[in-house]
């Protein structure tokens, strides 16, 4: 995680991934939690992070004036960062494609057979032969691992529900507010997002179904109840969005990283909550494992750098960039008003190496449609632009084709 954090900070900015050093404060709400703070600071120091700092209740009141009453202690974590969860994987994929990787979407792997010198993968898009295979299949990493004859772990999705509050709530917090972790859960936090919203969550409960991406009334109610305690003014603001993430949790607490040199197969499964932070380090580790297992790794003579378009709130967004608008008036035509997304940005997204083929894909690349009105003002125009630029009909994009 430490290595992943360092790599993201090193490479994130050049890739255009929105990252902000907001800092965090761990807040204790009971005497027991307050008593646990020194041990947490000590463990962080053991893990190589010595910059935590105890915070008095007085100072806490200055740092977070809207915090609810009843805090018993706090620990500052100055180097906590927030990052855009949409841009990060897209940046990795875009850079890969720019450097020769073939990205085959909607290609489900259903079987593996050994062939001379490697593997034949049976997929929904026909067979694909490979000398080496890396399993990074997330929620289905156990299924893929079993195709290679192993019975090493089982993924039990751990559902997390989250509430995203209106940007107008942003002034209510200065930094991420973390709970004191217990033995069972990392707990519910309140944090700013790189888009300028405030996020509350996640919950954590095991679900049997890997497609269970629905929120629940009980989960949302529990979040609001916790949120009202931590930041009373927060729950009076409008909710912009709610969503669910499923962590690929297994019966083990560590990632399931295995190397099978003889079979030329690497497993990077069971990656859970800390996965995004650790992602570049996991990749580095997998690369080293492959090299040690005999895969020749030769540095490319020419490397194509990419930079994702600026969609973070801390970036200079095109609509506010006078020079950009003067050079291209399409950056002056705001289409999604809540998120200030321009026609120029939607046009650009349609021309990328991995163009959006659905509304959700366009949302994550541009922010269009993710704002407080959830399409009341802009859905028709945004889906119209996507239809014109992707060759799919509006009905197909809205899912209303029979």
């Amino acid at each position: 995680m430490r290595r992943g954090h360092a790599l993201l900070l090193e490479h994130g900015p050049r890739l255009g991934i929105p990252i902000e050093r907001t800092g965090a404060v761990l807040v204790a709400w009971t005497a027991e939690q307050a008593a646990a703070l020194p041990a947490i600071a000590a463990r962080a120091a053991e893990n190589g992070y010595g910059a935590t700092r105890p915070v008095s209740l007085d100072e806490l009141g200055h740092l977070e004036p809207h915090l609810g009453p009843g805090a018993t202690g706090a620990l500052a974590i100055p180097d906590e960062h927030i990052i855009c969860p949409f841009t990060t994987p897209l940046a990795f994929a875009t850079e890969a494609v720019a450097n020769g990787v073939a990205l085959r979407l909607q290609t489900r792997v259903g079987g593996v057979a050994p062939i001379d010198g490697g593997h034949r993968l049976g997929t929904t898009a026909g067979p694909i032969d490979a000398r080496w295979v890396v399993n990074a299949a997330g929620l289905h990493s156990d299924t893929i691992d079993r195709l290679f004859g192993h019975e090493r772990f089982t993924v039990t999705p751990r559902r997390g529900e989250l509430i995203v509050f209106d940007k107008l709530a942003r002034p209510l917090i200065g930094r991420t507010i973390l709970p004191v972790p217990t033995a069972t859960t990392k707990g519910v936090l309140v944090a700013p997002t790189t888009f300028g919203n405030v996020i509350l969550g996640p919950t954590a409960d095991d679900v049997p179904d890997r497609g269970a991406t629905g929120t629940t009334a009980a989960g949302l109610a529990a979040l609001l109840s916790t949120g009202a305690r931590i930041l009373p003014a927060l729950v009076r603001e409008e909710v912009t969005a709610t969503y669910v993430g499923l962590r690929a949790a297994t019966e083990h607490s560590d990632y399931r990283l295995f190397v099978d040199p003889d079979r030329r197969y690497v497993c990077a499964g069971g990656i859970r909550s800390t996965g995004l932070t650790a992602s570049m380090a996991i990749a580095e580790h997998v690369g080293e494992s492959l090299r040690d297992a005999g895969l020749p790794l030769v540095r490319r003579p020419v490397f194509h750098h990419i930079r994702m378009p600026p969609i973070g709130e801390a970036d200079c967004r095109p609509h506010a960039d006078a020079a950009r608008v003067a050079a291209d008036p399409e950056y002056g035509r705001i289409v999604c008003h809540c998120e200030r997304v321009t026609r120029g940005e939607i046009r650009d997204a349609l021309r990328t190496a991995i163009p959006p083929r659905s509304l959700d894909a366009l949302r994550r690349r541009t922010r269009a449609g993710l704002g407080r009105c959830q399409g009341f003002y802009c859905l028709a125009e945004v889906v119209g632009l996507l239809a014109a630029g992707s060759g799919r009909s509006i009905e197909a994009l809205l899912g209303s084709e029979p």
Binding site: T216, A217, V239, V325, G332, I334, C373, A380, E381, L398
Partner: protein, 399 residues
């Protein structure tokens, strides 16, 4: 030469701008972020617009066009595709348009940014997030502006005026409504409209019920009601439950009213910030377009007085309301021309409510009204002339 900036080119913004030009208040710039001025009526394909403010009966698009034409004819500078992205001073704004990024300074600003329907997520309706979940605003634009078929079988959440308009729009878009669902005991619109849109077509209206979950993976497959019933459908339209589009008001730091959720205003649209006015559905979501236009015209007189002579009354008297009333417009009374009417909203049905307006225990007005949620309730405003400027807040309550 003085300048007034109007943010929002819907009925209220255009009507105020036209009135300002006709009263020689100087330059008037309307900043409209859509490609065409006129506001929501541009995509409301039903008639009934214009009776009280334009003296004619028009369909939505014709009404919108007429307001824009009158404004242009009066010399209003209507700038479309012009988005106000923030404030650079109490009366100057940052604007982005295809023409560039600029700051526009004014002597007075009128916020006329209207209102929108609260979406599914804000209403905390649990479940999956499949395609096929809309608000009426999105539905109208898809059907009327883009001629798209949105689905085959819809559940409409809400049974107020706009909900029935949604049923008709769905029909025009080739989609049958399988049910309307309202948390109130029955619908809240005019009986003829309810019959025309739903009754005669056999569309059931389920009262005292809420949609608590949406099901479906890529596309809506059904909804679950709070009594456990499920309704199979492929489209859900969330209607009504209006909230003012108040971002700019909040970012300006204006005093806000918890009831309307818009900026706190007096009867002539003055907000808590000197030189900043607010009118239209930003301050009374959601009245009809003509009400928005008429209120904005009244504000125009105050705006003209302000830019010409700095008229800005101090210490208006507050108007508050008690449950089950949820808001009153205006929320403040300045000691001048009384409002033609006070507009109220209720959270509950009270068939024969005895309303009283009082100040310091002294009744200023009494009357009876039928209180229905999501329906505009009006009481006269003439009693405002007998309000004591030092007598404390005015209260509207049942009594």
């Amino acid at each position: 030469m003085s300048r007034v900036v109007v943010i929002g080119g819907g009925p209220a913004g255009l009507a105020a701008a036209t009135a300002l030009r006709r009263s020689n208040a100087g330059d008037v710039v309307v900043l409209e972020r859509e490609a065409a001025a006129g506001g929501v009526p541009r995509h409301c394909h039903h008639t009934g617009f214009g009776l009280r403010d334009l003296g004619r009966v028009l369909g939505g698009p014709a009404y919108a066009a007429r307001h824009a034409m009158l404004a242009t004819r009066a010399g209003v500078d209507i700038r479309t595709e012009a988005s106000v992205t923030g404030w650079t001073s109490p009366t100057s704004v940052a604007v982005t348009s295809p023409r560039g990024v600029e700051t526009i300074a004014a002597d007075a600003v009128l916020l006329a940014t209207g209102c929108r329907e609260r979406p599914r997520s804000a209403r905390l309706v649990a479940g999956t997030r499949p395609a096929g979940v809309l608000t009426t605003g999105a539905l109208q634009q898809l059907v009327h502006l883009r001629r798209v078929r949105v689905g085959r079988r819809a559940v409409v959440v809400g049974a107020e005026h706009v909900s029935f308009s949604a049923v008709l729009t769905l029909r025009e878009g080739g989609c049958e409504t399988v049910a309307m669902v309202t948390g109130h005991p029955s619908h809240q619109t005019y009986a003829p409209l309810a019959w025309l849109a739903a009754g005669r077509l056999g569309v059931p209206i389920f009262g005292t019920t809420r949609v608590v979950e949406i099901r479906g993976r890529d596309r809506v497959e059904g909804v679950v009601l709070d009594d456990g019933r499920t309704l199979a459908c492929d489209t859900v339209v969330f209607t009504g439950d209006w909230i003012p589009d108040h971002e700019l008001a909040r970012r300006a730091g204006l005093a806000m009213d918890d009831g309307t959720r818009g900026p706190l205003v007096d009867q002539l649209g003055r907000t808590s910030a000197r030189g900043v006015f607010a009118a239209g559905n930003l301050v009374h979501a959601a009245e009809t377009a003509d009400t928005a236009a008429l209120g904005a015209r009244a504000a125009a007189r105050a705006i003209a007085d302000f830019v010409r002579g700095g008229v800005w009354p101090a210490e208006p008297v507050a108007i508050t309301c008690a449950a089950p009333l949820v808001w009153a417009w205006p929320q403040a009374l300045a000691p001048e021309a009384p409002p033609r009417a006070i507009i109220l909203r209720t959270a509950e049905v009270v068939p024969a409510a005895r309303l009283v307006v009082e100040q310091g225990g002294r009744a200023l007005w009494r009357g009876r009204r039928r209180l229905v949620p999501n329906r505009s309730i009006r009481i006269p405003g003439r009693w405002a002339t007998s309000v004591d400027p030092r007598g404390g807040p005015v209260r509207v309550r049942l009594g």
